[in-house]
Amino acid sequence: MRVTCSVNGEQRHADDVWPGESLLYVLRERLGLPGSKNACEQGECGSCSVFLDGVLVCSCLVAAGQVEGRDVRTVEGLAGPAPDLHPVQRAFLDAGAVQCGFCTPGLVVATVDLLARDPDPTDAEIREALAGNVCRCTGYEAILAAVHLAAARHHDDASLAGEPAAGERA
């Protein structure tokens, strides 16, 4: 089947899609967007987190056919063209919250979702919000620091919702 949907603001279509394959597979293997990572394929690790119609989901648990006509935003769509970074990405780098980097895209997307809902979360709220994102390197402390750093730097809701503020583009 052909699947047509909006991905990062652009109308895209994928052909010869097996309807039972996941949105994650469509993104990575058919649309050339490998930012969302494929690890557990059962919703346990959060590495494939994307926004579907603005809602944080595991793209491995969305059937390709369910995406028809809908709006997808991936980690690639958070910032402007390289070398621009979303404030959350910048905070992860500055706080040293990235080691092997495999979990980072999912954590960045989940953090963008958290800060859009709660611009100044407590440690407990961060732990709850990121409970579906597994990191095997950092021990999470630096990730908590990165979320706090992003929150402290950006109280501009628009920027946290993903539209880079004018001054942030390189």
Partner: protein, 289 residues
């Protein structure tokens, strides 16, 4: 594999009648795992996310009617204050990503003995609205579970909604797992006190082939509360009653040893969960006086 995307409930029911082997998919948090791991290759996938009315809830003749497509996140945010037991269970489901997609309807559709909602639904005496082209019917949730991942749903039927009466007394839920998030419970328990008709509702999870009530414990507790006039006085529970309740709940369990825990541990956990949740519920009841 054919992918069906009905735009209305009548179209969905007609599709299910034409393809009784079609697998219904809502949030995909169970079905997609089976597809991703090649555990299942259905000829027909029936996507219900295009049926808008399934994502609605309403008040219906004194009961709340929750469409099968209402996600856990919305249930917690929009109905958490009116359905505390179910909301407590919903908060323990997976992670934000999972709660944003998963639904009570899907939990029932999977009919796992470990489904988090089931103990709360059992304790609250919920009803399940199902429909096929032959007509609609309501199944009491205690009659819904037929075996491990099997339900009373006929091959041509779909789950449409869940009915719950707004509680007249306190509700509690607790589950045990290896950590707080992303965990299939090792044992779970839900309790609801129904002071209006002086009944006690219970639900056991992950400790029997199906979710089930602890009928003996319900009867004894309700009887003891009535005998000591505690439904009215809201006095302290007699010494030993919560422990006895826990013992009776464990007697209704029928667990197995598996990778998540032993049968003996599950029975111990049931005893503790039942005793604790009763103590919490009774304290709630006393505070509400």
């Amino acid at each position: 594999m054919d992918f069906h995307r009905p735009r209305s409930w009548s179209e969905a029911v007609a599709t299910k009648a034409a393809h009784p082997d079609a697998v219904a998919i809502q949030g995909g948090t169970d079905v997609m795992v089976e597809l991703n791991f090649d555990h299942r290759r259905p000829d027909h996938l029936l996507d219900l996310t295009g049926v808008a009315e399934l994502a609605e809830w309403s008040s219906d003749d004194g009961r709340l009617r929750i469409g099968a497509g209402v996600t856990y996140t919305r249930l917690i945010a929009e109905l958490g204050h009116r359905l505390p037991g179910l909301a407590m269970a919903a908060r323990t489901v997976g992670s934000p990503q999972i709660r944003n997609r998963g639904t009570v309807g899907g939990n029932l559709g999977t009919a796992s003995p470990a489904g988090d909602c089931h103990p709360a639904l059992l304790a609250a005496h919920a009803g399940v609205e199902v429909e096929s082209v032959r007509g609609a019917r309501e199944i009491a949730v205690e009659s819904f579970f037929a075996g491990v991942k099997r339900s009373a749903l006929a091959p041509d039927e779909l789950i449409k909604a869940v009915f719950l009466r707004p509680p007249t007394g306190p509700q509690q839920f607790a589950k045990i797992g290896t950590r707080n998030a992303m965990v299939i419970s090792v044992a779970a328990f839900g309790i609801a006190l129904h002071p209006d008709d002086q009944h006690v509702g219970t639900g056991i999870g992950s400790a029997a082939p199906t979710p089930r009530r602890a009928v003996g414990a319900e009867t004894v507790l309700a009887g003891e509360l009535a005998a000591a006039d505690l439904w009215t006085s809201r006095g302290d529970l007699p010494a030993g009653l919560a422990e006895r309740f826990g013992e009776l709940v464990a007697q209704s369990g029928d667990p197995i040893d598996d990778v998540r825990g032993t049968a003996a541990y599950r029975l111990h956990a049931l005893r503790v969960l039942a005793r604790r949740t009763l103590a919490w519920a009774w304290a709630d009841y006393q505070r509400a006086a």
